[in-house]
């Protein structure tokens, strides 16, 4: 994360621009930067996606493992989030430097994605109280250029869309012992319904208006993302967030479907493009 310092004159310039719905990079207040999505980039995961938003680059890998369901909810599988703020993104993250941000991000992701309507966790159950699928969702920050939350949520959604969980068969022997058999056919797998998986929309109040997908410079203009808001602007911002979120979902699903339909013909780009 390049540290950004903003001078008073620059601040005024950016704020006036935002007031007139024209931001420094030519976007309107509710526009995202150019976003690139590619799924299935890491072949030894069950699902993966790479998302770049401006200079922000995120790689998400999902691995499904068989675990024991939580005793409170015996008939559901669960998700585990881990965010690796690697030193690649910024030297400040070296050693344990990124741990704090990593916990903050993974806690938020857990709250956002672990809702009843987002993924049906019951589909992850293999046998109630004994076995279930645990989805380890590992997020890797490769480069930070603002708006991590939105980029990560899009990447997680894309990776979940790409996730293929092998089908399992439970066989019971005479003594009542259960055995799990993994399907031999690698194409015999379960997909997740990601229609309702949420995307995060972060809004940033700059001056009297709020902007979507703030760059680091814009964020620096709004008290660095901290501070307080009056209730009315919160309500306005939730409304904008909802509208922008809806406008983000539809094309995202479309792009994912389109990529999927290319099948094996698709040329994998990854980091080589």
């Amino acid at each position: 994360m390049a540290t950004v310092q903003v001078s008073e004159a620059e601040k005024v310039y950016i704020m006036h621009g935002v007031r007139d719905d024209l931001r420094v990079d030519g976007r309107g207040c509710e526009d995202y930067r150019h976003m690139e999505i590619e799924t299935d980039v890491v072949s030894n995961t069950d699902g993966s996606a790479k998302v770049t938003l401006g200079h922000t680059a995120i790689l998400v890998g999902i691995k499904a493992e068989i675990g024991k369901p939580r005793p409170m909810v015996a008939d559901e599988g669960f998700l585990e989030f881990f965010v690796d703020c690697s030193a690649n993104a910024t030297p400040e993250f070296e050693g344990r430097g990124g741990d704090e941000l990593g916990t903050e991000l993974s806690n938020t992701l857990y709250k956002v994605f672990n809702n009843r309507n987002s993924i049906d966790l019951r589909t992850l159950c293999i046998s109630p109280g004994e076995h279930c699928w645990v989805l380890y969702i590992d997020v890797l920050l490769l480069q930070c250029d603002g708006n991590l939350f939105d980029a990560i949520s899009v990447a997680v959604k894309a990776a979940l869309f790409n996730t293929r969980i092998p089908k399992v068969h439970i066989s019971e022997d005479e003594e009542g012992g259960k055995e799990i058999e993994l399907s031999d056919d690698p194409y015999d797998c379960m997909r997740l319904n990601v229609e309702n998986v949420p995307c995060i929309v972060t809004l940033c109040k700059v001056g009297h208006r709020h902007v979507v997908d703030a760059t680091l410079l814009e964020k620096a203009c709004s008290e660095g993302g901290r501070g307080s808001l009056d209730p009315e602007s919160i309500f306005e911002m939730t409304e904008t967030g909802k509208r922008v979120g809806k406008a983000l979902h539809a094309p995202l699903m479309e792009v994912l479907q389109k990529e999927e339909s290319l099948g094996k013909k698709r040329q994998k780009v990854g980091f080589l493009g």
């Binding site: 890491v42 030894n44 995961t45 200079h55 790689l59 691995k63 690649n88 250029d145």
Partner: protein, 267 residues
């Protein structure tokens, strides 16, 4: 040999390569805009990403500052999803610390550190997918990233692993061959001078075979250096087409220095 036959009677390896054949190498420089230098490499299914920051002022404690040369700071980490079994911690375990140290030693031998006294160069390498030869992929990626950052080096550093099976040296081991239990050797070479920057070997090997094994690894490294060279040249060509006026100098000495014109950052 543990069950798996690493070398068939016809002389082919598990993935169909000949003993001295390398895996397919694909690489790209300048992957990220914010870092001073970055590169991505794929060697077969092993994928590594290297990022270089610096040379800059020494961060953290001043006591690390060296007055006659730059400090090289390396961190090696593996993505939690890079291995078949999920890893719990991306870095900080003993194996990663050891690998970081090896990388540091390798690049201290190759980078012209005396040109940047009292400064620090950060090299961060991440394995995105691991299929054997992690060290060599890291070194090769880091070499490209250092060149991308415009930091002068004595020469490319190329690394390759080699193993020894049934009296035949195998170059560029994949995961199946590496975990087969046989001898494996990792070697980092400065190919023009034929100098070895790092040599590491584990498991037992008869002294008589050592020379042939090192020879095989060195040949593989030289092969890799040709690939890296073509990647660098191609990258420069692309950049020069984009910028027209080109700030590249291949000086008479084997030192390579690529200065990025500032306009490049805007791309």
């Amino acid at each position: 040999m543990a069950g798996l036959e690493l070398l068939s009677d016809q002389g082919y390896r598990v993935d169909g390569r000949k003993p001295s054949e390398l895996r397919k190498v694909q690489a790209r420089m300048g992957v990220f805009a914010q870092a001073d230098g970055s590169a991505y490499i794929e060697q077969g299914n092993t994928k590594a990403l290297a990022v270089v920051y610096g040379p800059h002022e020494v961060r953290g404690s001043r006591s690390r500052t060296l007055h006659d040369r730059a400090v090289i700071n390396c961190q090696y980490s593996m993505a939690t999803f890079s291995t078949a079994e999920r890893k719990r911690r991306p870095h900080g375990d003993r194996k990663s610390s050891e690998m970081s140290l090896h990388l540091k030693q390798t690049f201290e031998a190759a980078v012209l550190t005396q040109l940047y006294p009292r400064s620090q160069i950060d090299i961060y390498v991440k394995i995105l997918q691991s299929d054997g030869g992690n060290y060599s992929a890291c070194v090769n990626a880091a070499t490209l990233a250092v060149i991308d950052a415009g930091i002068p080096m004595r020469d490319y550093v190329c690394a390759c692993s080699a193993g020894f099976v049934e009296d035949t040296p195998l170059a560029d081991l994949c995961h199946a061959e590496e975990s087969g239990g046989g001898t494996s050797l990792a070697l980092a070479l400065l190919p023009r001078g034929g100098q070895i920057a790092l040599l590491q070997m584990d498991a037992r090997l008869h002294q008589d075979h050592l020379d042939t094994l090192i020879e095989a690894a060195m040949t593989a490294c030289k092969g890799l250096s040709d690939v890296l060279d073509s990647v660098v040249r191609q990258h420069l060509q692309e950049v020069s087409v984009l910028t027209r006026d080109l700030g590249v100098c291949f000086s008479a000495s084997p030192c390579i220095s690529v200065r990025k014109p500032p306009a490049l950052y805007l791309l």
